[in-house]
């Protein structure tokens, strides 16, 4: 894996736009994961 220039540390983020989703039933049941979302947008930031 190429070395990433960031570490995903969800405890440091205040991001209700995303974090609120993990308490919604349909998101939990679907397998939704906030770390996947954070990883994606941080990867785009460090492309």
């Amino acid at each position: 894996e190429p070395k990433k220039r960031f570490t995903v540390d969800e405890t440091m983020y205040n991001d209700p736009f995303i974090q609120d989703l993990q308490s919604k039933k349909e998101y939990i049941a679907s397998g939704f994961r906030t770390d996947y979302v954070f990883d994606r947008i941080l990867t785009e930031a460090f492309l």
């Binding site: 960031f6 983020y13 941080l42 785009e44 930031a45 460090f46």
Partner: protein
């Protein structure tokens, strides 16, 4: 990013971008001049008519083309926003339109005829599918007009549809700033600049920065415009000191970001009147008989 088609096919230095536009313009000019010769050869024109033709029906310069393209790119943005398309779909439509006129001249394709096609293809490509009939109704156009150049557009884009826009990097830096600056960040202030940055990103796509900078560099330039102090502090902590295992030289990064910022702050806004004059000239050069 270097593996992406966006970098491989669509990243240029300023010189070779200019070179590209000159090639496109001269190819179209050549064709126009040949047609003009045929036209003059096939008509019995009076001296006056000859005179008017040779002074008014002259091909556009590369600079004039660029003005006309920028004018219509603005229309792509306005129409996309009018259609309430998601921000990233609007951004894709803008970029598709601009790239089409890197490969093609406005003297070969009337930019008016590409506006809806680029928005329609952007919707499809970004999984925001609208059927061509309902799109035609909303855009007050026809399915034939919308589909007419879809293939040509795809080909001119060199079939590279996956675009990396600066919006996700903005969100990413929003997070990483919280991580790196810890509790020294006023979140309400961040929220305010976040929205301002999104708007500015869309505006910035109308310039040539998409060809010269990576999405994160554009984002950092825009963050620098919105809050220089915050970003400078963030970058210093992030890219200096022992934890800088990222092999990024801060001074080099800042130089790139600042040159990007300069470009963003000097957009080429085309007054409608100028665009009208150029569009008329473009029309006459393609329809000398009307002239």
């Amino acid at each position: 990013y270097r593996h992406s088609s966006q970098y491989r096919f669509w990243s240029f230095t300023k010189d070779n971008l200019k070179q590209k536009r000159l090639e496109t313009n001269s190819r179209a000019t050549q064709k126009i001049e040949e047609d003009m010769k045929k036209f003059i050869g096939s008509q019995t024109l009076t001296n006056d008519e000859l005179n008017i033709t040779s002074t008014k029906a002259i091909p556009l310069t590369m600079e004039e083309e660029l003005k006309l393209v920028n004018f219509y790119t603005q229309k792509v943005k306005v129409i996309s926003q009018h259609l309430n398309l998601p921000t990233e779909v609007t951004a894709t439509a803008i970029v598709f339109f601009k790239k089409f006129f890197i490969e093609n001249s406005v003297m070969e394709f009337d930019p008016k005829e590409l506006v809806h096609t680029t928005i329609f293809l952007a919707c499809k490509s970004e999984n925001y599918f609208i059927s061509v009939d309902s799109f035609a109704r909303k855009a007050k156009s026809s399915r034939e007009a919308i589909l007419k150049y879809e293939f040509t557009l795809l080909e001119s884009l060199k079939f590279s549809l996956l675009l990396h826009h600066p919006y996700k990097p903005l969100h990413g830096f929003f997070l990483d700033i919280q991580n790196v600056l810890h509790d020294k960040v006023d979140l309400n202030h961040m929220g305010r600049i976040y929205d301002a940055c999104r708007k500015r990103i869309t505006e910035s796509l109308l310039t040539d920065i998409i060809y010269h900078f990576t999405p994160p560099q554009i984002t950092l330039a825009i963050l620098l415009i919105e809050d220089e102090q915050l970003i400078t502090k963030y970058l210093e902590i992030k890219f200096t000191g022992d934890e800088n295992s990222h092999n990024i030289q801060l001074d080099k990064l800042l130089a790139i970001i600042n040159s990007c910022k300069e470009m963003i702050l000097s957009p080429d806004v085309v007054p409608t009147q100028d665009a009208k004059v150029i569009a008329a000239k473009n029309y006459y050069v393609q329809h000398p008989m009307v002239l």
